[in-house]
């Protein structure tokens, strides 16, 4: 017999508001669907009302984990629009922060994977080590989560010799711990047994469903924007694209641990080869009318910003495609024919950042040239939608 189950929007297995609707046949998931919109904040519309420099502040708050990736993506897009060549030292520092962010994000993910597979102490270990990275970020930028490092033409703060030495010291500790994790992910029987074979996504499926990031690389496709379309200074830095062929959650864990090791090499390279000179150059306030498409390899996959300028000091349009959105179709494919008990694990394996991915799309007749939605219309639509929400259970008296 088939029956329907819904999970979320508030559920301990999902740390953010999203709803999963599933059709079950016993323990097996036959069909799954995602319901979004609980975290929609209207970032794209808000961006149109702010100047470019204020928008750095806004794009940083698209996501709390990969905050630097959104600002970098936005900043390098706007720099192209301004025809501005950023300072080389600034680019190096930008890349340094980006790699540190990748390290903290992957450590966070490893902990979550440990927790979802019932390995609590692993969760505690990785999160303890993550504090080391956060300390480094705090030394450089003064903040733990939103670093506020980017600005047009470079970065806002420099890295000095003392900080360099401290970072290299902490890196030694992290390297040792990561070797231990790699060992664990490859040989600990309970961990391997829980993750292996869960959430299969074949190579062909991954390509067809346009998966990105570690989800794609764990299916054996070596695609990484840092290599394929290098931005900032990645064309000067030696590193390898990490892949795995097992196409399951274990593969995704292995890819992330390998990426951690690559990131340590990149950080070391950057610190040892930091060019001298200014860390930022002056940027113009106004931007010529043009449009740009900016790509960035965030910890979760390819992040894309599309920016259109109209000659004023505010963008005319900002479109954000976060990596989680690209991974949703693949998640559905992974959930199908899996077990209920694997849902949190499969879902966590794409490292979902739900609030990143909540955008509004209006399906219009494209040939009609599309339509510009005004703020008041959007507000009316939002209110209309909120009214339709089912109130029936609201006045139920709880037995307490």
């Amino acid at each position: 017999m088939e029956y329907k189950v819904s999970l979320g929007p508030q559920h301990p297995a999902l740390h953010e508001a999203i709803s999963l609707r599933m059709t079950l046949d016993g323990e097996v998931i036959r069909d799954a669907d995602l319901k979004l919109g609980y975290s929609h904040r209207g970032i794209e519309k808000l961006a149109e009302e702010r100047s470019y420099i204020q928008n750095i502040y806004l794009t940083e708050r698209i996501c709390g984990i990969c905050s630097h990736s959104h600002t970098t993506c936005f900043t390098q897009g706007v720099e192209q629009l301004m025809e501005l060549v950023p300072a080389r030292r600034g680019l190096y520092i930008r890349t340094l922060i980006a790699e540190l962010e990748r390290v903290h994000s992957h450590l966070l993910w490893l902990g979550v994977a440990g927790q979802e597979s019932g390995f609590e102490s692993f969760f505690m270990y990785t999160w303890r080590d993550r504090e080391v990275v956060l300390d480094i970020l705090e030394w450089i930028s003064g903040n733990r989560v939103h670093y506020a490092m980017n600005t047009f033409g470079g970065v806002r703060r420099d890295v000095d010799e003392l900080q360099k030495k401290k970072i290299l010291d902490s890196l030694g500790l992290l390297k040792k711990r990561t070797d231990y994790y790699l060992n664990l992910a490859a040989s600990e029987p309970t961990f391997v047994g829980r993750l292996a074979g869960v959430g299969k996504l074949s190579r062909q499926q991954a390509i067809d469903l346009c998966a990105v990031g570690p989800t794609l690389r764990a299916s054996g496709v070596p695609m990484d924007v840092r290599k394929d379309d290098p931005y900032a200074v990645y064309d000067e830095i030696p590193f390898e694209v990490s892949t795995a062929d097992s196409c399951d959650v274990l593969g995704r864990a292995v890819v992330r641990v390998k990426e951690l090791i690559q990131s340590y090499h990149i950080i070391e390279y950057i610190l040892n080869n930091l060019p001298a000179g200014p860390f930022k150059v002056k940027a113009p306030r106004k931007v010529k009318p043009n449009e740009v498409y900016s790509r960035y390899e965030a910890p979760r996959g390819e992040n894309v910003h599309y920016i259109r300028s109209n000659g004023s000091e505010k963008p005319e349009r900002l479109k954000v495609r976060a990596p989680t959105l690209a991974n949703y179709p693949a998640t559905i494919a992974m959930l199908k024919n899996g077990f209920i008990a694997d849902i949190p694990l499969i879902f966590a394996a794409i490292d979902p950042c739900i609030c990143c991915a909540e955008r509004l799309v209006q399906l219009d007749d494209v040939r009609g040239g599309g339509r510009v939605l005004r703020f008041s219309e959007l507000r009316a639509m939002a209110n209309e939608r909120a009214k339709k929400i089912d109130y029936t259970k609201k006045d139920i008296a709880w037995p307490f």
């Binding site: 740390h15 904040r41 808000l46």
Partner: protein, 141 residues
């Protein structure tokens, strides 16, 4: 006697529910988790993170409330047994942060729920959250 025991256990070991109200980045959620991790270790005050509202005494809310999530947040809050305490954590939950003025978010949690403690910061440091919890417990005593 029983009442005193209940009160004592409530102060000594408050169980918290962490609720993401929707309209925030997840920076604050991550910092709440970080506060429970070995470095800051909020659990030494007896604080435990719970998955269900029916076990919780304190509801820590992060992020601005989105219109679509509004009624769900209310329903979750209703399920927390009395006496309950609300904590608005982060700038979003206090006053909307950068999303203030958006068409889909409310300005602050206190428009919808009673709030006992506010934690400022975007995001707050885990130490600030610990301070808020300790102050809240002291006021309950």
């Amino acid at each position: 006697m029983i009442e005193r025991l209940v009160h004592w256990s409530r102060v000594k070991s408050p169980w918290v529910l962490h609720l993401n109200a929707g309209g925030g980045c997840n920076g604050c959620d991550i910092e709440i988790l970080a506060a429970l991790m070995p470095r800051f270790d909020l659990e030494r005050f007896g604080v435990q993170l719970k998955g269900t509202p029916r076990h919780a005494d304190v509801m820590i809310c992060t992020g601005a409330i989105t219109l679509q999530n509004r009624d769900r947040v209310l329903r979750v809050y209703e399920q927390v047994p009395e006496p309950k305490f609300g904590v608005a954590a982060g700038a979003c939950a206090r006053a909307g942060c950068v999303y203030r003025g958006s068409y889909h978010t409310l300005v602050g949690i206190d428009q919808l729920l009673p709030v006992n403690a506010y934690v400022p910061g975007c995001p707050f440091r885990p130490a600030a959250l610990i301070d808020a919890v300790v102050k809240l417990l002291n006021s309950v005593k």
